[in-house]
Amino acid sequence: MTTDVRRVARPLAIGVIALLVEYKLLGTQQFANALTLGAIYALIALGYTMVYGIVELINFAHGDIFMVGSFLAMWIMSTVLGLSGPVTNLLNLIGLLALVMFATMLGMGLIGMFIERFAYRPLRHAPRLAPLITAIGVSFILQNIIASLFGPSPVSVPQIVPLDKFAILDGRIGYLNVFMVVLAVVLMIALQLFVGRTRLGRAMRSTAQDREAAELMGVDINQTIAITFFIAAALAGAGGVIQGLYFGSIKFDLGFFVGLKAFTAAVLGGIGNTTGAAIGGFIIAFVEVYATVLGYTQWSEVAVFTVLILVLVFRPSGLLGQQLGERA
């Protein structure tokens, strides 16, 4: 019981402290920006962490799956639904967003499962180097497919959410920010419930702990891993939707740096730990926004990378240690 309390209290405490510090340093407006960015990173970081927890593979293609997700969402909105400007009817807007979100997540989940089935599964027992190199290859394939379909220059995304803002405390924040953050948090809570409460979630956790034992106990390993990739890719797809709506334009190589930052977030939170990944995402976003506030925009990537190296050197297990992928 006490360990249960600790498991909840510690990340909660770290999260609250981090948020308070962020708010103090950034002010309302930038804080809202950092939170939105953090939501994107967190959603992607979750995918890194889940996949790593279960197959011990850093899925280099994950950032690009996120990128493909943003393009899929863009395509659904502009070509399939024919949207181009803000939708002012609130009910319509919510319906449309739900539809875009659902379709993108479903599509990306299937793509994720497809990649796992054909690129990673055959190499599950190969030397470590092989799946890593394959992942790099997949990453390049995805980038170049998108580049050839949509062109190498930035593509604009229909801004279907009105850019209205409301005043709060000492600043003004957009409804969009609120919506994004709420959505991300809902998805994360749903994921926690899924992993913690359902039969499939249990299968995932037991596979992460000890694949052979899980197999002996009747867990279908292939199915479990496929579902993990599905969820990871679907979350990245959700991140892609947010990215497109929030920044208004997307590019074929956007997955590279965003992926790197999200991976840093996953490591910072403790790879294999889903709560940690979420917290890490918000911290990394904070570092980046803070660098921008201080006027060092072009160094923000260097700063994030430095964070990655420092964490790896001084605390490779991350802020919250390992919960999912504990193995001697």
Partner: protein, 338 residues
């Protein structure tokens, strides 16, 4: 088992001495306060039911796992224990360079050139310290000791200190030849460095030729004479076990740790392995620590036997003493033997 009054003089003939070694994984205590002593030239066996913590204990001794508490000494030198003030080590890498660079920044006002040079020196001190942390030369280890940092020896340092080992599931370099496997074991005994290799100096070439001769000698000792060119993966199971022993011998150990050396062997291979161990002790004066399930092997060649159960040492003594110990009979065998 171990008297508390152990002074350095009484350790003279001890090869290895483990005191109150405990290893916990989270809440699970795999090994609890186990003591073990191995005298020079002795064969000691570690037995116990599955999951008794034998391999964990082995890995602590081999420097692979840090113990939760307790100490392992090799020839009277503390090699393995819980790390003390490990966080100080990275500080020693960074601090000098920060101090030097700070000096450089201060002098920059007076003379930019000198300031730049000093900052550059700070950078080099960082590189030097990082390199030292990797190579761990004597002065670096002394410095760590001075500031109260203790870190357990790494596996390769345990080998240097005189421990050779084999693994429960054979871990040969399976795509290398038998000869190359043994040559890898001789790595420590060879002196030529990267520069020698690049220039192909006579010293490097002579050493390489000599290493082949010596590797063949080790193969002959374990009974694999003339099989050096075979790829390790293609060797029969029993030969792979023997090749692993040869690789362990090649590092010139005083103590050899054998993790289930006869597992999966047929009676003839088992007998040969037992004879090999006895012969190695006689001819080379080696000491052995065995994990073994085959009671015939254990009782046949051991001088002392230690029995673990649920991570705790429940008996220690000569094979005869252990055999008659009621706790062992109860815990280990579950029911009295006929």
């Amino acid at each position: 088992m171990t008297a508390a009054v152990a002074g350095p003089t009484t350790d003279g003939d001890l090869v290895l001495r483990a005191r109150k070694v405990t290893k916990a994984f989270g809440g699970l205590i795999a090994v609890k306060e186990v003591d073990l002593q191995i005298a020079r030239g002795a064969i000691v066996s570690l037995i116990g039911p599955n999951g008794a913590g034998k391999t964990t204990f082995f890995n602590v001794i081999a420097g692979i796992l840090d113990p939760t508490s307790g100490v392992v000494e090799l020839g009277g030198r503390q090699m393995v224990a819980r790390p003390v003030r490990a966080w100080l080590e990275p500080v020693t890498w960074i601090l000098p360079s920060i101090v030097i660079s700070g000096l450089g920044v201060l002098t920059y006002q007076a003379s930019p050139t000198v300031g730049d040079l000093i900052v550059l020196g700070g950078l080099f001190s960082l590189i030097a310290m990082l390199l030292a942390a990797i190579v761990r030369p004597i002065w670096y280890q002394t410095m760590l000791r001075r500031i109260g940092v203790f870190k357990s020896a790494r596996p390769n340092e345990m080998v240097k200190a005189g421990i050779g080992r084999t693994f429960q599931n054979i871990r040969l370099f399976s795509n290398m030849t038998a000869l190359e496997n043994v040559q890898v074991g001789m790595h420590l005994k060879m002196k030529s460095n990267a520069a020698d290799a690049l220039l192909s100096t006579p010293r490097a070439r002579a050493e390489e030729t000599e290493s082949v001769v010596r590797a063949e000698h080790y193969l002959e000792i374990v009974g694999l004479k003339g099989r050096g060119d075979e790829v390790a993966r293609n060797l029969p199971y029993g030969d792979q076990r023997r090749l692993e022993v040869a690789r362990a011998l090649a590092s010139g150990p005083v103590l050899v740790l054998l993790d289930e050396p006869t597992a999966g062997m047929n009676p003839r291979e088992t007998r040969e392995m037992t004879e090999l161990i006895s012969r190695l002790r006689q001819d080379l004066g080696l000491s052995f620590l065995l994990i073994e399930h085959d009671m015939k092997v254990v009782m046949g060649i051991s001088d002392r036997v230690t029995v673990l159960d649920h991570g705790e040492c429940i008996a220690e003594g000569t094979p005869d003493q252990v055999r008659q110990n009621p706790r062992v009979i109860e815990a280990y065998l579950g029911k009295p033997p006929e």
